[in-house]
Amino acid sequence: MSATKNVHDVRIIVFACRWCGLIGADGAGRERTALPASFRVIPVECAGFVEPDLIIRALADGVTGIAVLGCHLGGCRFSDGNHPALKRLELLRTLLDTTGIGGRRLLIGFGTAHESHQFAEMIREFHRELSELPSPGTWLAGTMKRQ
């Protein structure tokens, strides 16, 4: 992997809950905020829908960063379904830290991305941070050839 990372190597998957996480992205779009095209949004019903194994699988498929945008704790329409989700994702961050992949590759934003400026700033900062993180290296990149 080239030492200096060009912009196309950053690949962010954003799991955004349809009731709060997605609103910031929509607002940012309507205000024509210019953001790097390095993220793809997958809408989910609730942050609880985001399976930790899927995040691990995404890392192996060449995704360099995952953001999970859910509702504010106590604001989940599914009767506090986002509480266990938050606990799981924080535990997954510990595991990613231990193996050196870096918990910072998993961004958890509960109730913090519903405004367009919040979403825009978060994506820019996440993009910058990921481009500074060491390149995923062969072992993390796993089997890119499986496309």
């Binding site: 194994d53 990613l96 193996t99 913090t112 089997t143």
Partner: protein, 281 residues
């Protein structure tokens, strides 16, 4: 300690509390293997060395014996904790199992990096001080230091994995049939060396809140990969956040399966806004 255990086992068999005692037997040609002792006399050949995880064996035995068969298990601390986790996961019926706990020696504790080398229901042996696994120098290089170096160190270890599933089969808590690691969606089939991230991280995360740190996976790994070290950081996180340790409290389900009202973080208010970029919005 061994004869205390034998005495207790004989009492239980005689009193009919259990129809069988699961322990290690020194059989023909001094081969040691797990055995269900049904008669009191047989118990002379009961041994407690080497360390052998018996929880999963106990589950299998109880599965194919009639409903009223009760089994006693000669269990070390980690075996007992593994049985408690299996009870919590409805794999073993609480009434049909009895724990004959015996303690481990300090060198065994040092070998397994064990912090609690004694069972709750102790029948034989005296309690020895456990060690703090995170402070051990076999573990520290894999948990501290800078990300880049740590990632390389883990990569160098995990690259030697030959996907023999030994770790999964030895683990007393890994009970899923079929297992996700055999599914093509999660781990590519037939690729050796294995896709390190999915195989090892998915397996490690599934056991994040159930691993009793018995070290069976590490001992079973032919490539000698420090697999238990993967779990230690998550166990530490659970202990620090919710003071929960797998296998200790039979009535308490894992804290990450419930909301903050039922399983709060002691001493912390409900974290209402979370932004892991450590930027206070």
């Amino acid at each position: 300690m061994l004869d205390e255990l034998k005495k207790k086992a004989r009492e239980i068999l005689k009193a009919g509390d259990a129809q069988g005692v699961l322990g290690l037997k020194r059989g023909l040609f001094d081969v040691i293997h797990p055995h269900v002792f049904t008669a009191a006399e047989e118990l002379d050949s009961l041994v407690t060395e080497p360390k052998w995880p018996l929880a999963k064996t106990a589950r299998a035995i109880l599965r194919d014996r009639p409903g009223d068969f009760r089994l006693a298990v000669a269990a070390r601390g980690c075996d007992e904790r593994a049985v408690v986790e299996l009870i919590k996961r409805n794999q073993i019926d609480r009434e049909r199992i009895l724990i004959l706990g015996y303690t481990c020696g300090s060198e065994q504790a040092k070998a397994c990096l064990c912090s609690r080398p004694w069972p709750e229901k102790r029948v034989a042996g005296d309690i020895v001080e456990g060690i703090d696994p995170l402070a051990d120098d076999r573990v520290r290089p894999y948990l501290e230091g800078d990300d880049r170096a740590r990632m390389e160190r883990w990569a160098e270890q995990l690259r030697r994995c030959i996907k023999c599933y030994g770790c999964r089969n030895a683990c007393p808590i890994c009970i899923c049939v079929p297992c996700k690691l055999e599914d093509d969606l999660w781990v590519e089939r037939g690729a050796v060396p294995v896709e390190m991230v999915p195989f090892h991280l998915i397996r490690a995360f599934h056991l994040s809140d159930t691993c009793v740190a018995c070290g069976a996976c590490q001992e079973a790994c032919p490539a000698g990969i420090p697999l238990m070290t993967l779990q230690l950081s998550m166990r530490e996180a659970l202990r620090k956040e919710y003071n929960y340790e797998a296998g200790l409290e039979p009535e308490r389900t894992s804290p990450i399966l419930s909301d903050f009202n039922r399983e709060p973080r002691p001493g912390q208010a409900l974290p209402d806004w979370i932004h892991t970029m450590d930027r206070k919005t």
